[in-house]
């Protein structure tokens, strides 16, 4: 499977990555060869192998339902570009 320049632009947009126009072809080629490697692996016979969701063969540990965090808003907001009335302010988005 190979990616077109348009595929690359679409993926970059979805991931909010800015890429230079002159690099698009280059990315298309590199990403296509990654996909080619996947295709190669896909040819292996994996009948009878259970798909893994995680490389570690372990189960998720669970925590008790208890509030352990305290309010650190002021501390967290020191790195925010803009805040008001306790809110983080961001460029307007209406959906």
């Amino acid at each position: 499977m190979s990616l077109t320049a348009n595929d690359v632009k679409k993926i970059a947009h979805l991931a909010r990555l800015g890429i230079a126009e002159q690099d698009v072809e280059h990315y298309a080629k590199d990403l296509s060869s990654v996909l080619e490697l996947m295709t190669q692996m896909g040819r292996l016979n994996t009948a009878g192998v259970t798909p893994m969701a995680h490389p570690l063969d372990q189960m998720q540990r669970l925590r008790e339902d208890a509030v352990t965090e305290t309010d650190q808003r002021d501390h967290f907001q020191t790195i925010a570009p803009q805040t008001e009335a306790g809110l983080y302010l961001v460029p307007k988005v209406i959906d």
Binding site: R16, E84, L89
Partner: protein, 479 residues
């Protein structure tokens, strides 16, 4: 709806699980806190943090799965759903895609006396996003991340509903169930129970589904019905006008009673799900299932059937009384405390009590007349101490004060006159004093009797039993 068309509806319902802390962090989930005071480093998606799954969120999901007779996945996986929005700081929502925790189940609804089984495709755990406030912050948007990370169970139905009415019945039933199970507080104003509806129409008899539109975030039972009905009409109009329904997300505007297209994002469905490497697969052992099963409360359908069998209630009363666990418990307490007056207790609860609560905008848990005091009143009706009419007076006093029914009856002198001699004297007196209606009645005008009964009740200050008075009066007039 035009009868040539059939609607096909499926609902996705987001229920906030009522855990104390968030699904992946130890921050509090309490509603109404100051903005961002319950958003910790994990909820903010700061670099280097790791999610740790809340045991009670898992437990609540299993509880729900068992209650709808669903398969509980022995092995379930969390995935990242990738999209960018300011109230989702990580750039992805932790959700489940393949291998959700709850698989195929079902819920039975009742519409117009018919029972219908609605399939539930799946229910999966995920984290809620924060809230965007678009009020004017100098042209900027304010973000409150207190809600970010609150556990949600998204319950996805099969497209099994055929009318807005069925959709509302399903939504109500689910709402009742999650509250019975005490896994969600069901508070719709606070957004604890939210609904998206997938709606399409097709010519009657056609097997294939039409193109569907998704209506987002409908937060009351009333709006669900209106929004779906509106959308069905809209789609029929589009098709009959020679157009095509487009697959899109629409927003319901309650003020205008219409749905409108949300700005379409062509990549909206391109979420690029993949298993979250920060979380290992969740294993649900049989022992957990057994443990949860042992703590399941009596479910609404079973309770309703038991009420019908045990208390000889009709379907309608039993449905009303089991519509919430609190109301059902209240009813059973009254029955017990009144010495088994099941029918009277049902009539009073479904009638006067719910009526008064409704008028006052109160829930049964806030009822000024508790079960014990109501039972006190019912006992006095049952043993004929007071008439049904007087009982309403006593109820008003119970509602507005703190005296018991017996105290009110005694203070106000409301004891029903059971001395037949005393009633007879009054009946005779009224017959003598009212020759005109007496003659009219004897001449065959049955209505005239009412005037006489009214007079007698007035004379006795409502303390005579109207049935007795009636009987006695007729007997005397026929002589």
């Amino acid at each position: 709806m035009n009868s040539q068309w059939e609607a096909v509806i499926g609902l996705e319902i987001h229920t906030q699980l009522s855990t104390k802390s968030k699904i992946f962090s130890g921050a509090a989930t309490a509603y109404g806190a100051e903005p961002n005071t319950q958003a910790c480093a994990v909820d903010l998606g700061l670099p280097g943090v790791l999610p740790v799954l809340n045991k009670d969120a898992v437990r609540r999901a299993v509880t729900f799965g068992l209650a709808i007779d669903a398969e509980i996945a022995p092995h379930s996986v969390f995935a990242r759903k990738n999209y960018f929005y300011p109230d989702l700081p990580k750039g992805y929502q932790i959700s489940q895609f393949e291998l959700p925790i709850v698989g195929n189940g079902h819920l039975d609804i009742e519409v117009d006396g018919e029972t219908k089984r609605i399939g539930i495709t799946r229910a999966h755990l995920e984290e809620d996003a924060g809230k965007s406030l678009h009020e004017d912050f100098h042209g900027l948007t304010g973000i409150d991340l207190n809600r970010a990370g609150t556990p949600l169970l998204e319950i996805v139905s099969e497209p099994d509903m055929r009318s807005a009415k069925e959709a509302v019945a399903y939504m109500r039933k689910l709402h009742e169930l999650v509250r019975y199970l005490e896994i969600c507080d069901g508070n719709m104003q606070e957004g604890s129970f939210r609904c998206d509806a997938n709606v399409s129409v097709r010519p009657k008899g056609q097997k294939e589904f039409g193109t569907r539109a998704e209506i987002k975030n409908i937060n009351s039972f009333k709006f669900v019905e209106k929004a779906i009905n509106h959308e069905i009409e809209r789609q029929i109009d589009v098709i009959e006008g020679g157009g095509k329904v487009v697959q899109e997300t629409r927003l319901y505007d309650a003020n205008k009673d219409e749905t409108r297209s949300m700005r379409s994002k062509e990549e909206a469905n391109d979420y690029r799900y993949f298993p979250d490497p920060d979380l290992l697969p969740v294993l649900i052992e049989d022992s957990l299932k057994d443990e949860v099963r042992a703590t399941l409360p009596e479910l609404p359908d079973a309770k309703k059937q038991r009420f019908i069998d045990q208390y000889a209630l009709d379907n309608e009363s039993a449905t009303t009384l089991t519509s919430s666990r609190e109301l059902a418990d209240f009813y059973e307490t009254v029955v017990k405390a009144s010495g088994g007056e099941a029918k009277l207790a049902s009539n009073w609860l479904t009638g006067d009590v719910l009526g008064a609560l409704n008028k006052a905008g109160l829930e049964i848990s806030d009822c000024p007349v508790n079960a014990g005091r109501l039972a006190g009143l019912i006992k006095r009706i049952a043993d004929n101490t007071i008439s049904g009419k007087t009982a309403k007076q006593v109820f008003d006093k119970l509602w507005n004060g703190s005296d018991s029914a017996d105290e009110i009856i005694e203070k106000e002198g409301l004891v029903q006159i059971t001395d037949t001699g005393a009633i007879e004297a009054i009946v005779d007196k009224v017959i003598t004093a009212n020759p005109v209606p007496v003659e009219q009645y004897r001449a065959g005008k049955d209505k005239a009797l009412m005037a006489l009964v009214g007079q007698i009740m007035k004379e006795t200050q409502g303390k005579a039993n109207p049935g007795e008075v009636n009987k006695m009066l007729i007997a005397k007039l026929k002589n």
